[in-house]
């Protein structure tokens, strides 16, 4: 059984007991425990079920690499699936549940898959479930989906109770990893004066060294870590953070770090996670190394654990996974586990060393403690279902016969160490294979390159390959100095602290145990514990031609589990290489992708949730609109009133009322969102002549002109009224959605094509409030307010003037998008609301009503004015819309001119704009197509036109529409048919697109 030891546990405080729950059972642990160590202390070795076969799974590691011990943590709005118990710090009241089983962890119906495992090898689903066709969706897939998945999904209505934030940081040197290498590298870099940020993913410093032993400058590692930390804390140019994982390295020194602020104190004030977005000149990856499992039959049974993890549990948390332990290894390091266990009073039955030579000094020490060492041996098979019961021991060089069985309850395994090269690799750092240590390590000749073409990531310590404490510290010193130097600082060269540890003999690679294990054993030798990928699966993939390491990965799902292959990848590709008869470096690795370990979606989104998901742009009149019934419509980042709905009134009633009132009395439109772009300079006229299809350079100051803007492909992209302010200044109005886009468009052409022209553009959209005063009473209300002469004589249609209305500084444009007498009046944004309110007040006697975007649309449609985004969709040229009059014939060139001469653009079969009136007066459906005769070569019904805008016109009391129709203008009076998606056929007559006041008298009074 797994228990708490009477002594040991450098990270726990036995005076502080903590109560928590696992699967409803109340358990106790100590402050400083992880959930995994606390569960083990309560003899809960089995913590979950595997993905595919639903096999029992116990904890196998002690850190971020854990593939098995995943739990659902917390409840309700704080529930989180797939939390690693090994990195979950225990806190009072913690609740956790195990995953991927039904009805419970001990008895899982899904475990039937284990019995069927032989019929479910890698990729079985590609070969089965093919017939009959409908069965995949309706039968097979639902079963597979429910059997797969891992953690429970949060409740569908969950609104995360926590908040998240982003934090922007700049560092000369970012050091990732707070083991002795990271601490020393940070110290070395900081001594140069460089600004250093040091992050460590766990809550404690020192990494493995305090567990592994040895001395640093004569001190125990713990004491040295303490001393070094004190120094770093006292250094102004060093920032240190625990519980902060270096999560990803991106182009040009961009890095992410993931700080878990309140995971260990849920509900505490402040954000739960903080995502550090770091720009670092240099990044030191002191990320250590991860031990590899050994591939023997039954290596997945709960109780089989990495040797280093078992040592961690004993030394750090004072728990042991068993009472009678067997250690299996191919290297010397695992002897440290045997020694630690023995010293803690745990029975170590024997060390099975696959090397015929046995181990070095550490092995001697183990022997001197009375531990039996069996060189040249292997584990043939582990027996036990939910817990290790026995092992069968055989010769490593055999096929697994001649076994000796030994009863035991835990197995520590070590297949050697793999440097953590993820961060090095994220941005393109390459690896080399080290034959002596049988691992991939960073290739110093091929680092990830920054903007200057030089490397910006420096690996340090075990992450770079070195193994012994002395080598690790020396490498860290070098890395810290190198990073500081590359960041532009002069490092103080110093000797690395002297690390002393037991001399280790070389490992011998063991990719399968025993080396020639027969098929029944290989089918039980796990590579990927979570996804249930075995040695036999990788060999099957190779046999079937899935030879690329990427094919093998995808075919078998090796390394695709939530640990992303931290334990399985190297063993897997060594197995593949053997199967293919190739060398490991030839086979290569799969790609390392960010993040290093999974990070919460909440932290990626940061603060931007709910109301502040995106900033709302507000016009000066926004709050008034909100208080006066605005039915909001999102338009870009703005919100505009769709209509102003009065109490007791429906939205459509409001629209109809507003439309009629604007024609009969007085309407006000908050047009502040319209884009306003100043174009200024000696070449401004020339520039605008290129930007617009019509001539703008000859516009007289004081006058306005409606203009069209096309892309270089000839398509209409925006329209609006241009006013000439003075000799070298024009003000261009754009559509609401177009302001930023058109500003960018102008800048692009100005900067990339006509960079030598003397012209500047400035977007002043938000500097002004703009209010359209519309209707027969428009002039009356302005005259009532007093001030400038607003008569037709003073400011005729398509004129503008500066002046005062009431006390307000105004610029008045006589332009009309409604066909009514209309003045669009711009005032400084700060005066916008007051001006609006003054108009509302003064307008009362003239029947004033504000109107929204829908009334705006209907008013313009009644007049046959086009709307960008309705009549245009990125495929429409002005000629399609009958706007030839706005295309200058005199100009040599403008954007889109050449494009509009291409054969398809001049094709007389292009659909042209017309008005459409339903025969029965009803409203045509939005977006309906007019059906023609027959079908095309692809069997699609031929079409001859489509509806671009369609409304109920309250003024005409009938449906009106505009549309693009084949030969439309030549077919006036013809009735065409529009099949609706409701099954009805809508008949409409082709008419002139101007439905109201065809002579245009009303705007010109």
């Amino acid at each position: 059984m797994s228990t708490r030891l009477a002594k040991q546990g450098r990270l726990i405080d036995r005076s502080k007991q903590i109560t928590f729950k696992f699967n409803g059972t109340t358990m106790r642990g100590f402050e400083g425990d992880t959930l995994a160590s606390a569960l083990m202390a309560n003899d809960q070795m089995m913590m979950g079920r595997s993905f595919k076969y639903h096999r029992p799974r116990g904890v196998v590691a002690s850190g971020a690499e854990e593939p098995n011990a995943l739990v659902g943590l917390g409840e309700g709005a704080r529930f989180e699936p797939n939390q690693r118990a090994t990195t979950t710090e225990l806190f009072e009241g913690l609740t956790s549940i195990s995953q991927n089983h039904w009805p419970n962890l001990e008895f899982d119906v899904g475990a039937v898959n284990t019995a069927l495992a032989r019929f479910l090898p890698a990729g079985f689903y590609y070969k089965m479930f093919i017939h009959p066709q409908p069965f995949w969706k309706h039968v097979y897939e639902p079963i597979i989906r429910h059997s797969a998945g891992l953690g429970k999904a949060p409740d569908k209505e969950t609104k995360d109770a926590d908040t998240y934030e982003h934090f922007y940081a700049f560092a000369d040197v970012l050091v990732v990893g707070g083991g002795v290498a990271g601490l020393q590298a940070a110290k070395a870099a900081a001594q140069s004066g460089a600004k250093v940020l040091l992050v460590e993913q766990t809550s404690h410093w020192g990494g493995r060294a305090p567990v592994d032993g040895g001395t640093i400058d004569g001190l125990a590692p713990d004491a040295w870590v303490e001393q070094t930390l004190t120094e770093l804390k006292a250094t102004d140019n060093v920032t240190i953070r625990t519980r902060t994982m270096g999560s990803g390295v991106y182009d040009h020194g961009y890095a992410l770090a993931y700080e878990r602020l309140t995971d260990h104190t849920p509900g505490a004030p402040g954000p739960r996670h903080r995502l550090w977005r770091i720009r670092a000149k240099q990044i030191v990856t002191a990320t250590g190394a991860i031990e590899r499992p050994l591939s023997f039959a039954g290596n997945d049974v709960p109780g089989v654990m990495l040797a280093s993890a078992m040592r961690d549990y004993v030394v750090n948390w004072g728990v042991t996974p068993g009472q009678r332990v067997i250690v299996a290894t191919n290297n010397d390091d695992a002897y440290r586990t045997a020694i630690s266990l023995k010293k803690a009073g745990v029975d170590v039955l024997r060390v099975i060393d696959a090397r015929t030579s046995g181990g070095g000094a550490l092995a001697d020490e183990a022997r001197s403690l009375g531990i039996r060492v069996d060189p040249g041996k292997a584990i043939a098979k582990v027996k036990g279902g939910k817990r290790v019961k026995k092992v069968a021991i055989c010769n490593q060089d055999g096929i697994g016969g001649a076994r000796e069985e030994v009863a035991c309850d835990a197995i520590a395994m070590s297949g050697g160490w793999s440097p953590v090269v993820h961060l090095w690799s994220h941005c393109g750092g390459k690896l080399i294979w080290d034959d002596a240590l049988a691992h991939f390590r960073p290739d110093p000749a091929r680092p990830p390159l920054g903007a200057d073409g030089n490397g910006f990531v420096v690996p340090a310590g075990a992450a770079n390959g070195p193994v012994s404490l002395g080598d690790v510290l020396a490498d860290a010193q070098t890395a810290g100095e190198a990073a500081a130097n590359a960041a532009g600082f002069t490092p103080k060269t110093a000797d690395a602290p002297k690390g002393v540890s037991e001399l280790e003999l070389p490992l011998e690679p063991v990719w399968l145990m025993p080396a020639n294990a027969d098929m029944p054993l290989r089918m039980k030798a796990w590579l990927d514990f979570q996804n249930d990928v075995k040695v036999s699966d990788v060999q099957l993939a190779a046999r079937e031609g899935y030879e690329s390491v990427e094919h093998t990965k995808r075919y078998t799902t090796l390394g695709m589990a939530t640990d992303q292959g931290k334990l399985s990848n190297i063993n897997g590709l060594a197995t593949l290489a053997n199967a293919l008869g190739e060398d490991i470096p030839q086979v290569g690795t799969t790609t390392f992708r960010p993040p290093y370990t999974p990070i919460s979606m909440g932290s990626i989104g940061g603060e931007a949730r709910g109301e502040v998901f995106q900033p709302i742009r507000k016009t000066p009149v926004h709050e008034w609109n909100d208080a006066n019934g605005a039915d909001w419509e999102p338009v870009g980042h703005w919100r505009r009133p769709y209509a102003y709905v009065r109490p007791g009134e429906g939205v459509h009633d409001a629209v109809n009322r507003e439309v009629k009132n604007a024609r009969e009395n007085l309407g006000l439109l908050d047009a502040s969102t319209l884009g306003k772009i100043i174009v200024k300079g000696p070449d401004a006229g020339k520039f605008l002549d290129m930007m617009y299809t019509n001539m703008m350079s000859n516009l007289k100051p004081g006058k306005c002109r409606y203009g069209l803007m096309c892309s270089e492909n000839g398509f209409l992209i925006d329209d609006g009224v241009v006013a000439r302010m003075d000799d070298d200044t024009w003000l261009c109005h754009t559509t609401t959605g177009g302001a930023e886009r058109i500003h960018g468009h102008m800048e692009e052409w100005m900067q990339t094509e006509w960079w030598d022209w003397n012209v500047y553009v400035a977007n002043v959209t938000e500097q002004y409030a703009q209010i359209a005063v519309v209707g027969p009473n428009a002039r009356k209300v302005l005259e009532k307010l007093g001030g400038m002469d607003v008569s037709d004589a003073a400011i005729p249609f398509m004129g503008w003037a500066d002046g005062k209305i009431g006390d307000f500084d105004c610029r008045m444009f006589r332009i009309s998008f409604s066909g009514e007498l209309s003045c669009e009046i711009a005032v400084p944004a700060s005066q916008g609301l007051a001006f609006w309110e003054a108009l509302i007040e003064a307008g009362k006697e003239f029947g004033v009503m504000p109107y929204g975007t829908e009334a705006l649309h209907i008013l313009r449609a009644e007049k046959g004015f086009i709307m960008i985004g309705d009549e245009t969709d990125g495929t429409i040229i002005p000629q399609d819309l009958g706007l030839n009059w706005a295309i200058s014939k005199k100009k040599e060139d403008f954007l889109g001119k050449r494009a509009q001469q291409r054969s398809h653009m001049t094709d007389r079969n292009r659909w042209k704009l017309v008005g459409l009136e339903t025969v029965d007066g009803s409203v045509l459906p939005d977006g309906a197509y007019a059906a023609g005769e027959g079908v095309n070569a692809n069997g699609q019904r031929n079409v001859i036109g489509r509806v671009t805008s369609t409304y109920y016109s309250a003024n005409l009391d009938r449906g009106i529409a505009m549309g693009l129709v084949l030969h439309g203008p030549d077919r006036m009076g013809e009735v065409i048919e529009f099949p609706g998606t409701d099954g009805k056929i809508y008949k409409a007559k082709i008419v002139d697109p101007v439905f109201y006041d065809k002579e245009g008298k009303k705007q010109n009074v």
């Binding site: 797939n82 070569a937 998606t981």
Partner: protein, 414 residues
């Protein structure tokens, strides 16, 4: 080719699966082929497959620089839909979708096409009008789609938040017969079927030159030597421009990295595919349980197949807003694929200025869903010189101004 079935798996189980043969052979190139396809991705393999199946052209080599299916076929978000606006797009994507329906049976390889339904949310008035237009167009194109209410959206996607304070869901365009498939399996299934027809799939073989005589292609130079051919199909997505340069012409394409990511797996909570274009993101749940998430392209041209954080941030932010429960899930992995974009964001399937040389590329962000239709049409074009499916996607269209612009309907990568 040994037939795949549950019986075959059971039979093999008795001998520990040692009897399975290679899914595809790994031959050395012959001196000459009738047709060489460059690029063993989904589109290239499908082209070869239908050349063999529909036209009996089986003396074909498919040459691949890396490993088959390793480009965008193996790194997309596996969405299949055909609710396109413009006729030529709807035709080819619907052809593809309908071929996907029977593809597992046709190839005897389970590609796991799952018609779970694809939904495109409307969150502005403008989007409503756009999708209603698409629905009308689809009805006449023979593509079954419908406009659905927010209530129906919630029924289909219980985890959605309809009333987000910023962009409430106003309805959606729903294609019930759209869905997803297992992307790798599509490439592997076609590869196995091509190999079984006697075609040679030559991996780890890079084309270094295109040889021609009198304006007609006669072969290619490769890292495994020169190989002759009568016809050449270039189907290399992000690297189309480089290959075209070898053949002596230029293409209106640019390469951009498209970003994607997945969450850790969880039990089934979302059966359909949801695309939210206003907030910019889309999501589905794989059979493995991962939430598969995609969004935007990088704002600059590049060839790194790497994930960049800024787009992951924008996309995740949008989806946390749309599906609040994912806030407490975790991102497992992010990556990028290089998509080749044309000016109108529609593909190129075309003859080229070089005789006997054909191009299939420019699929931008939407290639996976088109694979069977694209291969079908490309094979027809290469075999007969004409295909109604591909006619509109010819290179000439840029000269003529005959664009096929879908941005009207979908402003987001897909």
């Amino acid at each position: 080719m040994k037939h795949y079935s549950a019986f075959a798996v059971a039979r093999e189980a008795l001998r520990y699966h040692t009897g399975w043969e290679r899914a595809w052979r790994s031959p050395e190139p012959k001196k000459r082929y009738d047709v060489i396809i460059v690029g063993a991705g989904g589109h290239g393999l499908a082209t070869a497959y239908y050349l063999g199946k529909n036209y009996g052209i089986q003396n074909v080599a498919i040459i691949e620089k890396g490993w088959l299916g390793g480009g965008n076929t193996g790194r997309n978000t596996t969405i299949i839909r055909s609710n396109y606006l413009q006729d030529p797009s709807a035709a080819i994507y619907e052809k593809a979708r309908s071929l996907y329906e029977g593809l597992s049976q046709d190839l005897n390889y389970n590609v796991m096409f799952s018609p779970r339904g694809v939904m495109m949310l409307a969150q502005t008035q403008h989007e409503i009008r756009g999708y209603q237009r698409t629905a009308h167009a689809n009805a006449l194109q023979g593509v079954k789609t419908e406009w659905i209410t927010p209530e129906r959206v919630k029924e289909l996607v219980p985890i959605i938040n309809l009333d987000g304070p910023r962009y409430p869901v106003l309805g959606a365009l729903w294609q019930e017969r759209g869905g997803t498939a297992r992307h790798d399996a599509v490439a592997w299934g076609y590869a196995r079927a091509c190999s079984a027809m006697g075609m040679d799939i030559i991996q780890q073989c890079e084309v270094t030159g295109v040889r021609s005589e009198n304006g007609h292609v006669v072969g290619v130079d490769t890292t495994k030597g020169a190989i002759d051919c009568d016809k050449l199909g270039m189907v290399v997505a992000g690297h189309s421009g480089q290959l075209a340069e070898m053949a002596g012409f230029r293409l209106p394409l640019e390469g951009i990295a498209l970003q994607a990511l997945v969450s850790e797996p969880i039990k089934p909570c979302m059966d359909v595919v949801v695309m939210a274009n206003t907030v910019h993101g889309y999501m589905s749940q794989s059979d493995k349980g991962e939430m598969v998430i995609g969004g935007g392209t990088d704002g600059f041209n590049n060839y790194t197949q790497r994930g960049s954080f800024h787009h992951a941030e924008e996309t995740v932010r949008a989806l946390v807003e749309t599906f609040p429960m994912i806030s407490r899930l975790k991102m497992l992995r992010q990556w990028g694929g290089i998509v080749d974009m044309t000016g109108d964001r529609s593909p190129l399937i075309s003859k080229t200025p070089l005789g006997g040389c054909f191009i299939n590329g420019g699929w931008g962000t939407g290639g996976f869903k088109a694979i069977p239709g694209s291969g079908w049409g490309m094979a027809q074009l290469m075999a007969t010189g004409h295909s109604p499916l591909t006619e509109a996607f010819s290179l000439d269209r840029f000269k003529e101004g005959r664009f096929i612009d879908e941005s009207v309907a979908a402003g987001v990568a897909h």
